[in-house]
C-alpha cells in the first residue's frame, strides 16, 4: 500500500488500550469526593472485618458490647459518647459491633440478588421464547407469595444445613434467604432494559460478527444497563440493612447480637420516651454508609458512562 495512509510522523508509542471498567476506575480515582466515600466504605468494611477477627480470636473488644458501662439510658456523655441503652450497654460498642452483621447481610444479600437477578433478567429479555416463559414463571410465582412467608421458608430450609462442609448459621442464613428471594425486582428491570436494547444496531453488528448470545448479553448489553444495576445495588443495600431485622425477628439469624436494624427496632420503643440517642446512632451509621455508597455509586455510574467523561 504505497500511497495508503502513512501514520503521523511523530507517532508516539500506542497508548495502552483500556476497557470500560479500567477506564472508569481510572476516572474514579480522580474524583475526590468519590474517593473519600470509597474510603468511608473501606473503613466500614474494616470495622466489620475487625469485629469478625476479634470474634474468632476471642479478643474482648468490641465483642464485649454486652457489658454495662453505665446506668440505663445515659444520655451521651464523655464516657459513653453515644449514651447507653436500657441495660446500660454502650451504644458506641453496639454500633461498632453491629457493623459486622449489618454489612455482611446487606453486602452479600445485594450481591447475591444481583448475581441471580441480572443474568436471569438478561437471558429472559434477550432469548425470549421458552427461556423467557420459564423465568417469568419463576418470578411471578415468587412475587405472588407473601415475602415474609417466602423468606421464612428459605431461611428455615437453609438453616443449619452444611452444603460443601460450610455450616449455614447466623447471618449467613439471613443473607442467603434475603438474596435468594429478592432478585426478582432487578430481574424484571434488566429484562425490560434488554428488551428495549436488543434490537439496536450495535447488537445487530455484534451478531453479524459472530458473537454468541452470552457474549452479546455480557459484553454488549449489560454494560449499557449498569446504571440500573448500580442504583439497584445501592438501594437494595439500604433496604437490606433495615430488613435484616425482620428475619432476626422470625427467630433466624443472629439472635441476640446487635445489628443496626435491631438497634433501630428496639430504639423505637425508647424514642417516645425521649431517649433519642440509640436511634440516632444507628441511623447515623446507616446514613453515613448509604451516603458514601450512593455518592460512590453515582460517581461510578458517571464514570461508566463515556458520554459524561470530562476533566
Amino acid at each position: 500500500m504505497t500511497d495508503s495512509i502513512q501514520t503521523t510522523k511523530n507517532l508516539q508509542k500506542p497508548i495502552k488500550g483500556r476497557s470500560l471498567w479500567i477506564d472508569a476506575i481510572g476516572r474514579l480515582r480522580k474524583r475526590k469526593l468519590a474517593m473519600i466515600c470509597f474510603g468511608i466504605i473501606l473503613f466500614y468494611v474494616f470495622i466489620a472485618c475487625y469485629v469478625q477477627v476479634a470474634e474468632w480470636t476471642g479478643s474482648s473488644w468490641p465483642t464485649n458490647w454486652d457489658e454495662s458501662t453505665g446506668q440505663k439510658y445515659e444520655s451521651p456523655n464523655a464516657q459513653n459518647i453515644f449514651g447507653t441503652d436500657i441495660f446500660g450497654y454502650s451504644i458506641l460498642r453496639k454500633v461498632l459491633y453491629g457493623t459486622k452483621i449489618s454489612l455482611q447481610v446487606a453486602f452479600f444479600a445485594s450481591i447475591l440478588s444481583i448475581l441471580i437477578g441480572v443474568p436471569m433478567g438478561a437471558a429472559a429479555g434477550y432469548f425470549g421464547g421458552f427461556i423467557d416463559d420459564v423465568i417469568v414463571w419463576i418470578y411471578s410465582t415468587l412475587s405472588s407469595i407473601p415475602y415474609i412467608l417466602l423468606i421464612l421458608a428459605f431461611a428455615l430450609v437453609l438453616k443449619d444445613k452444611t452444603p460443601f462442609g460450610f455450616k449455614l448459621a447466623g447471618a449467613t442464613t439471613v443473607y442467603l434467604a434475603i438474596g435468594l428471594t429478592s432478585w426478582v425486582g432487578i430481574c424484571r428491570l434488566i429484562r425490560g432494559e434488554i428488551l428495549k436494547r436488543k434490537e439496536s444496531e450495535y447488537v445487530l453488528a455484534a451478531r453479524a460478527m459472530g458473537c454468541s448470545g452470552g457474549r452479546i448479553i455480557f459484553k454488549h448489553l449489560l454494560p449499557n444497563t449498569f446504571h440500573i444495576v448500580i442504583i439497584t445495588f445501592s438501594l437494595r443495600f439500604m433496604s437490606f440493612i433495615h430488613a435484616e431485622v425482620i428475619l432476626s425477628f422470625l427467630g433466624l439469624g443472629e439472635k441476640d447480637k446487635p445489628s443496626w436494624g435491631a438497634m433501630i427496632d428496639s430504639a423505637r420503643l425508647d424514642l417516645p420516651k425521649g431517649y433519642w440517642w440509640e436511634m440516632t446512632a444507628a441511623t447515623l451509621a446507616i446514613l453515613i454508609i448509604s451516603l458514601a455508597l450512593n455518592i460512590f455509586g453515582d460517581a461510578l455510574r458517571d464514570c461508566l458512562d463515556p458520554k459524561l467523561r470530562t476533566d
Binding site: F87, F249, L250, G251, K255, D256, P272, K273
Partner: protein, 571 residues
C-alpha cells in the same frame, strides 16, 4: 356533631388494643373481646362494682344459689321480666329469659361441633354434660345436634328455676357463673343467624351492637329492652368521699352510646387520649415518664389537665417455667433453684414495667385473700452467691458441666428480645449459659402441648378471685396439653389440691393454699417474677371510674359530663 350521632346523646369512647375475633360469648377467649361482649351479655352472677375484696353478687339470678348438703346440687332462681333485646329473629315477639336458655347455652358449650374454646369451664364438672358432649361427637354437623336431649345435671325446675348437679363438690362454680362464656344466648337467634351469629350478638345486657366495623371500631347503643338495674348504694368506706356513691340507686346505664376504637399502637392512643377523644386510657410504656412522676403519682402537666390516675392490682403472676419432664431440669432441683436466685426481679420490674409490678415470691397475687404476707422468707430472692453455690451442687448432681439451656419465648418482638437478653445476662452471672428461642404464639402453643421445651416464659391472670385458679396450674392431672405446662406431678400436692379445691372459703382452706404454695416454691418448677399492677388514666368528665379487674361490663356505670368534655376538646 357529624357522623349521624344525635346531639344530645352521651357517648363513651374507649380504646381496645387488639382485634375482636368474636362477640359470641360461647367462643370468647380473650380479655378484649370479653370487655366488649360484656356490655351486651350478662351472666347469672357478677362482681360487686365497688366492694373489695371482690364479692360475687347476683346479676340475672334472683339471689345466691342454694347449695345442697353435699355441695353438689345448686338451685338458682332467675329474675323474672328479663328480656332479650328485640331482634328480627324473635319475629316481633318480646323474648323473656328463662332457665331453659341457660341449659341450652351450656349444652352449646358442650357441643363439640361448636368447637368452643371454653369447654374447660364445665369439663368434667356437671353430671351428664360430658355424655352430651360424647353424643355430639357422633353428629355430622353443628346443626344436627339435638339440644332437647336431656342432661341429668342441668334441669329447669320451672320457667325461672335452674338446677345444676355437679359430679363432685366444686365451690368455684359460683365464679364461673359470673364468667362471660356462661352467659345465656337465645336458641332462636342461633338458629336464625346460623354461621353469621358472630355478627349478631343478642343478649340481655345494657347495650346492643349497632355497628361492627371489624378491624376498626365497634359501636353500641343503649338497649331499649334493658331490665331495671341500679347503681350500687354501698361500697368501701372511702368510696363515698371519692364520689363513687353520688349516683347511688340511679338507673343504669348512664351512657347512650359506646364506641370501642381499635388502636393497636400506643402513640396514637396516647395522643387521642390527650386530645380528649378517648375518655380513659392505660399508660403506654412509652409515655410513662411523661405521665407519672417519681413516687408513682401523676405528673403536674397531666394533673393540670384534670386527668386522674388510678392504680390497682391485677390477679396476675409471671414466671419462667421449667419443664419437669426435661431430663436435666426435671431431676436437678439445685439447678432450678439456682436459676431462681440469679434473676434480679427488682431490676426486671424497673427495666421492663416502669415499676408497674410487685416482686413475686410465690404465685398467689397479693390481691387474693390467701396471699401469704410472709412469703418473702420462703421464696428464692435475688442472691448471686447462693445461686453460684447451687450451680455447684447442680453440677455435681449432673456429674459434670451443665449444657446450654434453652428458653421458649412466646414472642419475637423487641420486648421479648430484651427479656431474652436480660435472662441471658442473669444466667451468665452464675455461670449458666442460656439460649433463647423466640417463636410466635402458635408455635409456642404447639411446643407447650407437645412438651417440647426446656424452659418457658409465661404467666397467668386469674379468672376469679380464688387462689385455686393458680393451684390447678400445678395439678398432676392438668399436665400438657392441660394448663399445667410445667408438667409438674407431685402426688402429695395433688392430694392437697383436691382437698382444698372442694372446700368452701375458710381459714383452713387458706392455710392449705399457703402450704401448697410453699411446696411449689421449694420444688421450684418455676421462677416467679412479678405480679402486675395496672395504671389507668381518665379525664375529669368521666364519673364513677373505679377499676375492677374481674368485672368487664363496666360501661354502664360510667357517667360522662358532656359539657366538660366539649370544653376540653375545644380548648
Amino acid at each position: 356533631r357529624s357522623g349521624g350521632i344525635p346531639e344530645n346523646e352521651v357517648v363513651i369512647y374507649s380504646a381496645i388494643g387488639s382485634k375482636i375475633d368474636s362477640l359470641d360469648p360461647g367462643n370468647i377467649g380473650d380479655t378484649s373481646s370479653s370487655s366488649v361482649a360484656s356490655q351486651i351479655f350478662e351472666c347469672l352472677y357478677d362482681y360487686h362494682y365497688l366492694k373489695r375484696p371482690y364479692q360475687v353478687i347476683p346479676q340475672l339470678a334472683e339471689g345466691l344459689p342454694s347449695v345442697s348438703e353435699d355441695g353438689k346440687v345448686y338451685t338458682i332462681r332467675i329474675k323474672q321480666g328479663i328480656y332479650f333485646t328485640d331482634d328480627p329473629c324473635f319475629e316481633g315477639q318480646r323474648r323473656e329469659l328463662t332457665a331453659a336458655d341457660f341449659i341450652y347455652s351450656w349444652k352449646r358449650l358442650a357441643n363439640i361441633k361448636y368447637l368452643s374454646r371454653n369447654w374447660w369451664v364445665f369439663d368434667g364438672k356437671i353430671d351428664g354434660l360430658d355424655d352430651f358432649r360424647e353424643y355430639t361427637k357422633s353428629c355430622k354437623s353443628m346443626d344436627e345436634v339435638d339440644y332437647s336431649r336431656p342432661v341429668q345435671g342441668l334441669q329447669a325446675l320451672d320457667k325461672y328455676t335452674l338446677q345444676i348437679t355437679l359430679t363432685k363438690p366444686w365451690p368455684q362454680i359460683l365464679y364461673l357463673l359470673a364468667h362471660l362464656p356462661t352467659a345465656p344466648v337465645a336458641k332462636e337467634a342461633i338458629d336464625y343467624y346460623g354461621k353469621s351469629i358472630i355478627n349478631h350478638p343478642i343478649g340481655t345486657g345494657p347495650f346492643v351492637l349497632d355497628k361492627w366495623n371489624r378491624g376498626s371500631y365497634i359501636e353500641m347503643v343503649r338497649n331499649k329492652c334493658f331490665h331495671d338495674e341500679f347503681y350500687p348504694s354501698e361500697g368501701q368506706p372511702e368510696d363515698l368521699e371519692n364520689g363513687y356513691l353520688a349516683d347511688a340507686g340511679k338507673k343504669l346505664p348512664f351512657a347512650d352510646r359506646l364506641f370501642f376504637m381499635l388502636i393497636q399502637e400506643d402513640p396514637p392512643m396516647w395522643f387521642l387520649f390527650l386530645q380528649g377523644k378517648l375518655d380513659a386510657s392505660g399508660i403506654p410504656k412509652d409515655n410513662f415518664q411523661q405521665a407519672i412522676q417519681e413516687g408513682q403519682t401523676l405528673s403536674r402537666e397531666l394533673a393540670e389537665k384534670g386527668i386522674t390516675l388510678k392504680t390497682f392490682r391485677n390477679p396476675s403472676t409471671y414466671w419462667i417455667g421449667f419443664n419437669m419432664e426435661d431430663p436435666l431440669l426435671g431431676s436437678n432441683k439445685p439447678l432450678r433453684q439456682a436459676i431462681a436466685c440469679c434473676i434480679d426481679k427488682k431490676r426486671y420490674i424497673d427495666l421492663f414495667t416502669n415499676n408497674r409490678a410487685e416482686v413475686a415470691d410465690g404465685f398467689i397475687p397479693p390481691l387474693m385473700k390467701s396471699y401469704d404476707p410472709d412469703i418473702k422468707e420462703k421464696g428464692f430472692g435475688f442472691d448471686i452467691e447462693r445461686g453460684k453455690k447451687l450451680v455447684e451442687q447442680a453440677k455435681q448432681l449432673n456429674q459434670g458441666s451443665l449444657p446450654v439451656l434453652t428458653l421458649a419465648m412466646p414472642s419475637t418482638d423487641v420486648v421479648a428480645r430484651q427479656y431474652g437478653q436480660f435472662y441471658k445476662k442473669s444466667f451468665k452471672e452464675i455461670g449458666l449459659e442460656l439460649e433463647v428461642d423466640y417463636m410466635d404464639w402458635p408455635t409456642y402453643l404447639g411446643k407447650m402441648h407437645q412438651k417440647d421445651f426446656q424452659m418457658f416464659q409465661s404467666g397467668w391472670v386469674a379468672d376469679y378471685p380464688d387462689a385455686e385458679n393458680f393451684l390447678q396450674l400445678f395439678y398432676g392431672k392438668n399436665v400438657s396439653p392441660g394448663p399445667n405446662n410445667f408438667n409438674y406431678v407431685d402426688p402429695e400436692f395433688d392430694k392437697l389440691y383436691e382437698r382444698a379445691s372442694a372446700m368452701l372459703d375458710t381459714p383452713e382452706r387458706t392455710q392449705l393454699y399457703r402450704q401448697a404454695e410453699a411446696m411449689i416454691i421449694e420444688e421450684c418448677p418455676a421462677v416467679f417474677l412479678l405480679h402486675g399492677v395496672a395504671f389507668t388514666l381518665h379525664h375529669s368528665w368521666v364519673e364513677n371510674y373505679k377499676p375492677n379487674t374481674f368485672q368487664y361490663g363496666l360501661s354502664k356505670f360510667r357517667r360522662i359530663d358532656v359539657e366538660k368534655r366539649k370544653a376540653y376538646r375545644y380548648k
